[in-house]
Amino acid sequence: MTRIALTVNGSRVEENVEPRQLLVYFLRDRLGLKGTNVGCDTSSCGACTVLLDGESVKSCTVFAVQADGCEVTTVEGLAEGDELHPVQQAFHEQHALQCGYCTPGFVMATVSLLKEHPDPSEEEIRAGLEGNLCRCTGYHNIVRAVQAAARAGA
């Protein structure tokens, strides 16, 4: 067991973890943050995307011990009370989700994408979200949502 200390959604966390424990299972099983989903085992689908020190990472590809000393933001850390984050709001208004399983990952990847490219072209959006898979939407409305969030200054 290794002791790690990190900040998750603004709260300080200190836990003992097995060295082989992945960050996503640490978040889900130890901290009870079930919003981050697991959709594959090859770092392909991006359902588990979270922010690590502000940048998007696939939390199935990061060991919990690697997050020691870092700041982690999950989908649960985005909304301010009743008010959805502008990216969440844009996904809602553009019908950019259906079954919802890939949604937290797409939302987190979008937050990160818009931080790097506040006004992305459609091509940049599609390339920027290449690491996230969705089976329901055909991506059309996800692209619209990212554009809307960009316009809203997310």
Binding site: H95, L97, C99, G100, L133
Partner: protein
Amino acid sequence: MSILGNRVLRKEDPRFLRGEGRYVENLPLEGALAVTFVRSLLAHARIDGVDATAAATLPNVQVFTGADVDAGPFGPPPFPGLNPGMGRPLVATDVVRFVGDIVAIVVSEDRATGVDAAELVSVDYDPLPAVVSPQDAAKDEVLLYPEVGTNVACRSGSPEHDEKLFDGCDVVVSGTLVSPRMAPCPLEPRSAAAEVGPDGRVTAWLSTQTPHQDRMVLAGTLGLDPAQVRVVAPDVGGGFGAKMLNPEEVLLVWLARRLGRPVRWTETRSESMVALPHGRAQRLDYTIGGTRDGKVLAYRLDVLQDSGAYPVLGAFLPNLTALMASGVYAIPRIEFEGRSVVTNTTPISAFRGAGRPEASQTIERALDAFAAELELDPVEVRRRNFIPADAFPHTTVTHAAYDSGDYEGALDLVLRSAGYEELRDEQRRRREQGEATQLGIGISCYVEITNGIAETEFGEVEITPDGGAIVRTGSFSHGQGHETTFAMIAAEQLGLPIEKVTVHKGDTDEIAKGTGTYGSKSTQIGGMAARLAADEVVEHAKELVGDYLEASPADIVLDPALGRLHVAGDPSQAISWADLAVRASADDRLAELKASHEFKAVPTFPFGAHVAVVEVDTETGRVELRRLVAVDDAGTLINPLVAEGQVHGGIATGVAQALYEHVVYDDDGNPMTSTFVGYAFPSAADLPSWETVEMETPTPVNALGAKGIGESGTIGATPAVHNAVVDALAPFGVRHVDMPANGENVWRALEEART
């Protein structure tokens, strides 16, 4: 003003956006043991022994083999014509028949220990020759079930040939199309949990599309009284036809009862790619014949369906392919023969379209091949063969009773929207200049069948103490947005704001009956059942209000705009739903404001037309989809926002089959595409935006005028894109490209044409 037909934002969105989705894996289940399946690594082998000694030395690990499981077999389902001798043991005992077959079960305190233990289970296999291709299976040389004596699991249509079928035809064209095997890939892998309660009843939480049917199959397979089984389907992260009951879920319930402890299992993606049933996998040989001026007179279709190792729904699907063989065309003579064979591969079940895409893919390729032979524009050949708009209802020679349609209208609309003539001009220019990147334009006109087996669905509406309403539906939503669409339907009938209507689904204890969701049938039967239940609640409300206003119920009317009931012509004394609920509660009469209804209807036939525009690099074979313009007519739309979303996703799946996805096995039956790295699931970067065009031709079959919309996009898109790729290569003499029409297959087709 009616709420129906408006782009209402989804009520279910906020919980998903906030990361509060209630997927099975997220449910707290104190003290649940982790279940891990040990799966066969060989496609076909005798099991000489399973040694779990080493695994059982890990702390608190138990291992079960086929000899321990006193239940099953699983399937085959009771479809007409399916060979009953091909059932699947819940855990293989003597023989494994595909990579992924279950050979043992590990139960542990936590998932990681379970995975460690599963690796320590040693299985002694004696390899048997594997039969992988359905053509080989049809030879009956290697048998998967020697005791049955054949690999044929199901036959459909007729083996008889009419030698005069193509009499009178000036031109006869034949070809073969393989509809590639696809992995459904719902983003949420399957997940299940089970627990026996203090009363001895067992509850199964399943990631499924069909909770009520699962309850019956669970009870049947395990020899239980259905009353002793409760199935709960909470939020489900996509299904696409694949998430119906399988041996894994049955084993979870068996384990919970055997161990007296709650158990849970969530499959890994790599496990899902081999163990969750696949779709499509048909080989279709066609012959089409007609006159020199482009009138089709006869069509023959022979289907060889790969059913995988254990026949389930997939083996039955050629029946749907046969039913829809004629497409949107008036073809006077059609012959069909279907054979479904078992192979040493993952079982084939339903996947978005399920038997109908194959019919469209083939008739639309055949029409293009026929047009090419006649050197006619494929648009013109289609026009000469459409079932005309004034011919409905129309029954095809394959006995499909089309309800309503305007096939030429859909084609006109899509051609106009796409700018067809301009596209052909640009294509001509590129051809004349001999550009390396050629333009391909593909057309598809389709009709499909929804609510295909004329099912019945259950709906219940109940007024709550605060004057809102609960809708309970036997239908299910795993992304389709029923919580919004069904709420709109009930809100419309009751005159309530949609915010006051809540939709419940998925719990067999709460909802008396149900069939679940598949085959694009939810709104037309489940939505109708909810609507009729709401109407009945209004009638009950009139009786109550009649009592309170001392008037005859026959004189009471509902003001749907204000959600109030009053005596006709006298709105001064009106009672709102909220007031009525309070008063009825006080009088202990609230229960009267509840009604249930079952609605049964015949199938409906959505239709449409798609235009695909591709660029093909004729030097490398690289294909890029530039545009996909789609007219999808599903009758009256309840919520166009949600319907459009269904079309978008459907198109992506159709394009994926045409250009990218294909489950591949090697000659020994080893899966070569069993991860998301190896399987070509397209991302946003691989696809363009879709150009969807609205068209609504109501069905007379139900009062909503609604047909199904879940699978149309898929059915329309694949042949349009496939035709576009072949069209781009026409100047090179290419008449056929295998799907997926990826760089490799296009390059091969070009090379073949050049030599």
